[in-house]
Amino acid sequence: MDWKPLIEAIIYVADEPVTPDQITNALKEVAGENAPGKQEVQAAIDALLEDYRGEARGLEVKQVAGGYKMATKPQHHEAVRLFVKSLRPPVKLSLAALETLAVIAYRQPVTIPEIQEVRGVNAAAVIKTLLEKKLITTAGRKEVMGRPILYRTTREFLVQFGLNDLSELPSLKEFEELNKAAQTT
């Protein structure tokens, strides 16, 4: 039997360099009596290394700290880095930001003191983040003492959350029904 494919899968999956001993033991567990001996394993590893050598492959299997590890070839690092950078990251929000955004979405237009009233914590710092991410914007001032700024969600908010307009926001009642149903079953 050809053990190379299995060894390739194991090296690919492992986060740390895998030693030939570890591979031999793993194969013993899988194949029992039919498992290959240490020498056979080493031969398969050597063949695998050979497969990955050469310009035709973008990956390599290298020997590190007495074990084997898969990695991209160094000459592609720059290109790979550029690719990773180009990935559009998903909307990343801290829990505090998400909470504040939720309050604004459902209570808009709303002032910072009103948000703090609901959340019970200072919201000013998070407001700045949400403004920067263009998820919220100002909406005039509230005619009460101090004339605090009102905030509302933006078009970008709708886009990010896949909504056509605000009326598409699920009502809390609708979600309560889901919760209730989940609890009774």
Binding site: L93, S94, L98, Y106, P148, L172, F175
Partner: protein, 276 residues
């Protein structure tokens, strides 16, 4: 009931599931269901469950009623005036529902198999080695997270112990410290409105904040800027800003002004009056 059927209600997702199983296990032609027999078997299943004190969901009872209704309709004599092809079979609707349900039951089975196959493959992306940690930690969120979060916030607000305390009265010095520290963290200008929104939570604090801003302008610690008429007013650090860190603020305020009228710590008997 035929003992070989051996049906227990708990094994079923719903009445359609149970019915379908009764039909398929006995290899009955689904397009020609013997309603009387099936209804009897179905009722027996439910009765059996009830005898064992199993809660029978409303859906099962509703289906029982439907079956009895169909059975009774089939007993009615056919309309002799209508040709055979126009005679409506009372079973049609149920049969269609059963067939539809069965299709999706098979689809679910297919999805299950696909998922098993997918779960059997492992991925180990090496992305981490190429990501710089400049991004802030956070969660990728969707609409569901948003609603759920709002619900949680409201729940927390509802259960949060409410302490009804007198509104905090901030002294001049404390107010200067707050404005100073807030401005220090801030790279550009700080909107005046934001300061009022945060710190002017009662009339007294509103006045204190107002006086403090005037005081800081006088000390040349800050400047106020307004780009256009009626536009937002911004606070910016000015050349005297570092002075605010140079020593005890009491000294600074006392030496220069008497805005300390609301400042209990500073208003010792021999403090200068606010008549400068």
């Amino acid at each position: 009931m035929d003992a070989s059927l051996n049906v227990t209600l708990e094994a079923y997702q719903g009445p359609l599931d149970l019915l379908l199983d009764l039909i398929r296990k006995q290899e009955i032609d689904i397009y020609d269901i013997p309603v009387a027999t099936i209804t009897a078997q179905y009722l027996e299943c439910i009765q059996h469950a009830q005898e064992q004190n199993i809660d029978v969901a409303g859906e099962f009872i509703y289906m029982a009623a439907t079956l009895i209704y169909i059975k009774s309709k089939m007993l009615l004599p056919k309309d002799p005036d209508l040709p055979a092809e126009l005679q409506e079979d009372p079973r049609v609707e149920l049969v269609n529902q059963l067939l539809e349900h069965e299709k999706f039951r098979n689809a679910a089975q297919m999805l299950h198999e696909k998922q098993m196959l997918e779960a059997a493959a492992w991925s180990n992306p090496a992305l981490q080695e190429f990501v710089d940690d400049s991004g802030e930690p956070g969660l990728a969120v969707g609409l569901y997270d948003l609603v759920k979060t709002f619900q949680e916030v409201l729940e927390r607000a509802r259960t949060r112990p409410r302490l009804d305390i007198e509104p905090e009265e901030v002294t001049t010095v404390q107010m200067i410290e707050r404005v100073r520290d807030r401005l220090a963290e801030c790279r550009g200008g700080l909107p005046l409105g934001e300061l009022f929104a945060i710190y002017a939570d009662n009339r007294r604090n509103l006045i204190t904040l107002f006086l403090v801003i005037l005081e800081m302008v006088r000390l040349q610690a800050i400047v106020l800027r307004q780009k256009e008429m009626f536009g937002e007013i911004f606070l910016r650090k000015h050349r005297g800003f570092n002075l605010l860190y140079s020593g005890p603020l009491e000294q600074l305020v006392r030496e220069t002004s008497g805005a300390g009228e609301s400042d209990e710590e500073a208003s010792e008997p021999n403090a200068p009056a606010a008549d400068s």
